[in-house]
């Protein structure tokens, strides 16, 4: 990622947009399906630029998200740190996966994220989310190619890589 000139503003802007998308009002029927935008965007950056985005940024954006969404402080930080760590471990492999396998890997990560969130809720004594919320990782999987291509296009300009 050295010779290709990428734009430095894309990283912060994409994270802020992901945070805002999480707050966007949805109709009650779609609400359980809200994809975890922040995780998707963070996953892109961890895979593409591991030297810029690591556990620190994952933790910081998680804390900000907790403040924004009014949940348990530290919950999303924990979830995102775990997600980032797993991605960093398997980055070398995931990066060269074909898109279909990448989608599956992201789906697995998002599903794992749901489990972590449920565990945190049970430990803290909060009620867990209804079962319909477990469909959200599927939508997140479906959106992964879109996020990937969009962020790539933004980062390297219109001509692609």
């Amino acid at each position: 990622m050295s010779r290709l000139r990428d734009k430095p503003w894309v990283l912060p802007v994409s994270l802020v947009v992901a945070l805002l998308l999480g707050l966007l009002p949805l109709p009650a029927l779609l609400q359980p399906l809200r994809p975890y935008w922040l995780a998707l965007v963070l996953a892109y950056w961890v895979i593409e630029t591991p030297d810029r985005v690591g556990l620190g940024i994952a933790f910081a954006s998680g804390v900000i998200a907790d403040l924004l969404y009014g949940g348990v402080l530290g919950e999303q930080a924990l979830r995102l740190v775990i997600l980032t760590f797993i991605l960093q471990r398997f980055r070398a492999r995931i990066r060269f996966f074909p898109m279909s396998q990448q989608i599956l890997a992201i789906g697995g990560l998002l599903f794992n994220d749901r489990i972590v969130s449920a565990v945190v809720h049970i430990v803290v004594g909060e009620p867990t989310l209804p079962w319909s919320y477990w469909w959200a990782p599927l939508l997140g999987m479906a959106l992964w190619p879109l996020v990937f291509v969009l962020l790539d296009a933004l980062r390297f300009g219109r001509r692609g890589r």
């Binding site: 556990l55 994952a58 348990v72 004594g125 909060e126």
Partner: protein, 364 residues
């Protein structure tokens, strides 16, 4: 290392994914979770952070506001005309009801004076728009686009046209967070409107639950539940919901009831915030009549004396605050004349029920 191996690229990755750093961050996150759960000094820090978060909320609420604007603009002339006609009819009916309730309120105040009961303080309402954003779905919260600058303060009761919605738990300069009735951390002291049995309503995430109903209390499906005013947080007499189902609890000594909230909790455009207002005053000439003649005065002057709320009701846009009479509780009592009189059944419940001092605000 052989010279052709090149610079050690892999070691860098190994550093980034080192388990030590992971453990450090995990520990940090878990510390945050525990501290937040205990709600100690972190809550103050959180209040500070909310001020920073507020512009982001405003930004996130923008699409929702734009959406309603577009919807407003796209409404056709015919739709607007029919809506206008409907609203005008509703206003007419509401005004007629209001005048009737005013005479009732005045009568009530007079009777209270005759009985030497402490004067009930009046209530004002303030209109506050809802900021259209989705917070964490586990917690039942609402963000209002009105804050301390508009006079909103922590602990205010929030209602809508149907009934009680919740209470304000946090405020910043121009936003306020409302804890809804259905939040698992929330509880309201209530009474059954039909027979005055005192109970507590707990939030259950999506619905409301009425716990520890004595079997002898005579509570039935369909009963209206209103706030009792105990604890002092919520004023008495606001509808909370109606019972949709009753079942015995685990001990089989009490009943557990499910409630349908009276207010529209999922989404509206505006809510009303209650705040103390001036009490209903009895005009001096009426007071003399009542003390001299010893009988309640006739209703004609009563209806005349308080025309002020009418004026504010005919153009609700002005001011935003209008008099509110907590009368809805009186209605079910009047209608159900056949059941035991209102005074007596309070006694059996009084000893058994735990008396909540405050609704539970989220700190465990």
């Amino acid at each position: 290392m052989p010279p052709y191996a090149g610079p050690p690229v892999a070691s860098r990755q190994g550093d980034a994914a080192s388990p030590l750093r992971l453990l450090a961050y995990l520990a940090l996150a878990i510390t945050l979770i525990v501290l937040d759960d205990q709600a100690g000094w972190l809550s103050r820090l959180r209040a500070q952070a909310n001020v920073l978060v507020q512009p982001v909320w405003a930004l996130a609420g923008l699409p929702g506001r734009l959406g309603t604007q577009v919807k407003d603009n796209a409404a056709s002339h015919g739709q607007l005309v029919t809506e206008n006609r409907e609203l005008r009819n509703q206003l007419l009916i509401a005004n007629a009801r209001l005048t009737r309730l005013q005479t009732a309120a005045l009568d009530n105040a007079q009777l209270r004076e005759l009985l030497n009961v402490a004067e009930r303080s009046g209530l004002d309402v303030q209109l506050a728009p809802i900021l259209d954003i989705d917070l964490d779905p586990v917690r039942q919260r609402l963000v209002l686009a009105a804050g301390t600058r508009d006079g909103v303060h922590v602990g205010q009761a929030v209602i809508d046209a149907g009934g009680l919605m919740g209470q304000v738990i946090a405020t910043t300069g121009n936003s306020a967070t409302v804890l809804l009735l259905t939040d698992p951390d929330h509880a309201v002291p209530v009474t059954v409107a039909r027979n005055g049995v005192r109970l507590i309503v707990y939030g259950r995430g999506d619905t409301l639950e009425l716990r520890d109903i004595p079997l002898s209390a005579g509570v039935e499906v369909g009963d209206e539940i209103v706030t009792s005013g105990l604890g002092g947080r919520f004023p008495a007499g606001f509808p909370v919901g109606s019972i949709t189902a009753l079942r015995p609890d685990d001990t089989h000594a009490f009943l557990v009831g499910e409630l349908k909230p009276a207010a529209q909790l999922d989404r509206g455009r505006d809510v009303l915030l209650l705040r103390p207002g001036e009490a209903i005053r009895i005009p001096p000439n009426l007071r003399r009549d009542a003390s001299e003649a010893g009988e309640p005065a006739d209703r004609e002057p009563a209806a005349h004396e308080r025309t002020q709320p009418d004026a504010s009701a005919t153009n609700p846009a002005a001011g935003g605050a209008s008099d509110l009479i907590p009368a809805p509780s009186a209605r079910p009592l009047e209608q159900q004349g056949g059941s035991p009189p209102a005074g007596t059944p309070v006694v059996p419940a009084a000893g058994r029920q735990p008396q909540p001092s405050q609704p539970q605000v989220p700190q465990r």
